[in-house]
């Protein structure tokens, strides 16, 4: 079956479709606001008339390419092209500010390829057991997972943990706007129908990250033309490749985190990237250097979010439960082709299914040349455009990206409001990262909390539901360790200092 699948995949048409898919995905992902979900959804109608392999190969290529492409704008203009690239901004943009934009893109490319390939290997060899494990995630586990996720704030808050926590709480509060997940009360909509849907993540994210950056470009006294100086260096690709190869644990750990987070329905590439970044900081011998522009930060985020692509496909292919929104649209494409997810997909439609899985390996490999070529061109282009054109152009892209999500002007207004909040917040020392994290995790956390309480009431023990399930206990331990890790590091440092002194 594997040989048949490979024969089915390696045809000139399929090669062309994978290449087109990855190229188009990179382009879409690089534009702020245009997501992988949107790209796949837009292309699904064009795949009706294609055969199943052509269709899936094209869409899989777009998915992989778009998640990687999000790193371009994260690195070059501090605006994540897709939500998965939020954590890439932390070190990627800092590298670009130092003139190392192409180095950051090379790092993102190599890490994405490695992470993506590790994710596909998990998908091919471990899909059934991993999807069974994902089914054990109930509301209490989701609640504790989000609480664990919130401890990342300590890492994201670059200057002040207190301000980071305030930002995170503000994000949590914003996440409750709209219709409540249980009981259906309308909260803080102030009579607006648009507000009943809640605050859309992508316009808020564009506003918080992008608008303050545009104002920053304009406001800098010494940067009238080139925003980011671009340094030319010889043998840069080879040097970064060998530097990354010396960090196998960073790449493998991030890819495994990405795959695991991808498998859990509801937790997407944004959470995967941030968790991997947080773990990279925690394990590092030099945590204070994260956020200043080092390749470790970019590699952790990118290896993780590209591995998440395959992770999100594991429950989709084996159980019909998509792990992330783009996987949900891919599920629709799968059903349109007459392929029903489940165990039979790997037996009765084995050739098509394995062709699709192998095409993901090909897509990830293709990211390398396509990404490096387009990355270099983008680096030169962005750094060569005068600020006087670049700043309003990025704003134009922000408006388009915010509007195109739902074809709704309310999202553009949300982007503007959040832009102003981000601008004032940045001047007052509040970072955008914790606010976005709170906004992402808030709705998942609330749903987990309220559903767990209802479960507990039905079972007669609310505490039991929260504190007696094995995965919940594991999550609680991880949360406690993560929350107190900065303290542990400080105590360890003081102890070492005392020992050395004595």
């Amino acid at each position: 079956m594997i040989v048949d699948a490979l024969q089915l995949l390696f045809t000139p048409w399929n090669m062309l479709f994978v290449t087109l898919g990855v190229g188009a995905g990179i382009l879409v992902g690089a534009l702020p606001g245009l997501t992988a979900t949107m790209a796949i959804a837009l292309l699904v109608p064009f795949t009706f008339s294609m055969n199943a392999v052509h269709s899936l190969v094209l869409l899989g290529g777009i998915y992989s390419g778009a998640i990687y492409g999000g790193s371009f704008s994260a690195i070059l203009i501090n605006t994540p092209g897709t939500p998965s690239a939020i954590a890439t901004t932390f070190d990627g943009y800092a590298m670009a500010r130092k003139g190392e934009s192409y180095a950051a893109i090379i790092t993102a490319t190599i890490a994405s390829v490695i992470g993506g390939l590790i994710g596909v290997l998990f998908l091919i060899f471990l899909a059934p057991p991993l999807s069974r494990a994902a089914l054990k995630f109930g509301p209490p586990e989701f609640f504790w997972l989000t609480v664990f996720g919130l401890t990342i704030i300590a890492t994201l808050a670059s200057k002040s943990i207190l301000k980071g926590l305030i930002g995170g709480s503000f994000g949590l509060l914003l996440s409750v706007i709209g219709i409540a997940p249980i009981e259906g009360s309308v909260r803080y909509s102030f009579g607006s129908i648009s507000m009943q849907n809640g605050i859309a993540l992508i316009p808020a994210m564009i506003g918080l990250f992008c608008l303050p950056e545009i104002i920053g470009m304009i406001a800098k006294k010494d940067t009238h033309y080139n925003v980011i100086p671009y340094k030319k260096e010889k043998k840069l690709i080879r040097r970064i490749f060998f530097r990354l190869m010396k960090k196998p644990f960073l790449l493998i750990r991030s890819a495994v985190i990405g795959t695991v987070v991808g498998i859990i329905p509801g937790a997407g590439g944004n959470i995967a990237g941030m968790v991997a970044y947080n773990e990279a900081v925690r394990v590092s011998k030099f945590p204070e250097r994260f956020g200043t522009g080092i390749i470790d930060g970019v590699a952790a985020s990118e290896a993780s979010n590209n591995a998440e692509v395959s992770g999100s496909l594991i429950p989709m292919l084996t159980l019909g439960i998509p792990g992330a929104p783009p996987a949900a649209v891919l599920l629709g494409a799968l059903l349109l082709q007459g392929l029903r997810p489940g165990p039979y997909l790997f037996t009765s439609h084995g050739e098509v299914t394995y062709s699709f899985l192998f095409s993901l390996i090909l897509a990830n490999i293709l990211i390398l040349p396509l990404g490096l070529i387009s990355g270099k061109a983008m680096s030169k282009l962005i750094t060569g455009i005068p600020v006087t054109i670049l700043a309003p152009f990025v704003f134009l892209l922000s408006v388009i990206g915010s509007f195109a999500i739902n074809n709704n002007m309310a999202d553009v207004y949300i982007m503007l409001i959040f832009g102003i909040i981000g601008f004032i917040g940045r001047k007052a020392g509040f970072s955008a990262g914790p606010i976005v994290l709170g906004l992402i995790l808030g709705s998942i956390c609330e749903q987990g909390l309220v559903q767990s309480i209802l479960m507990g009431r039905a079972k007669g023990s609310v505490m039991g539901v929260f504190f007696q399930r094995p995965i919940s206990i594991l999550m609680i331990i991880l949360t406690v360790v993560s929350a107190f890790w900065p303290l542990i590091v400080r105590i360890r440092k003081n102890w070492r200092f005392k020992v050395e002194k004595s």
Binding site: I218, V399, M415
Partner: protein, 147 residues
Amino acid sequence: MKRADRISALVIIGISVFFMAEAKTFSPLSGLFPRVAILLLGGLSLLLFILTFVHRESGKTFDSASFRHVPSLISLLLMVVWGILIPVIGFLVTSLIFFPLITLYLDRDAPGKKKLSRIAIVEGLAVAFYLFFTRVLYVPFPEGLLL
């Protein structure tokens, strides 16, 4: 930054009080999570406010190192007006007006020829993106009164 922290803390405490007052009308389960978030936000902001009295006042209100306030605020204002006018006079028309307007404002010291070439570039970019999104991706941008 102490003064900025004090102002920020007071503003956030005000927001927390406002949101808490609104939360009174919610049903118990719908109001549970918002109340937890508000208490966290309000409590942490109160802590920030108290901490501003622990250390000496630095006198600095906001972080404004090498920052040109006037151009940035005018550009921000132009961008906000650009966004607000989109549903009124249409996406293409607002883009054709405000994109070059901001470029011209920022390039006000540049020679006339340079200004003209830049206007041509930004108008071209606006039209190209409009056509790509409306004709290729079928995104229905607001047309407003004009186009």
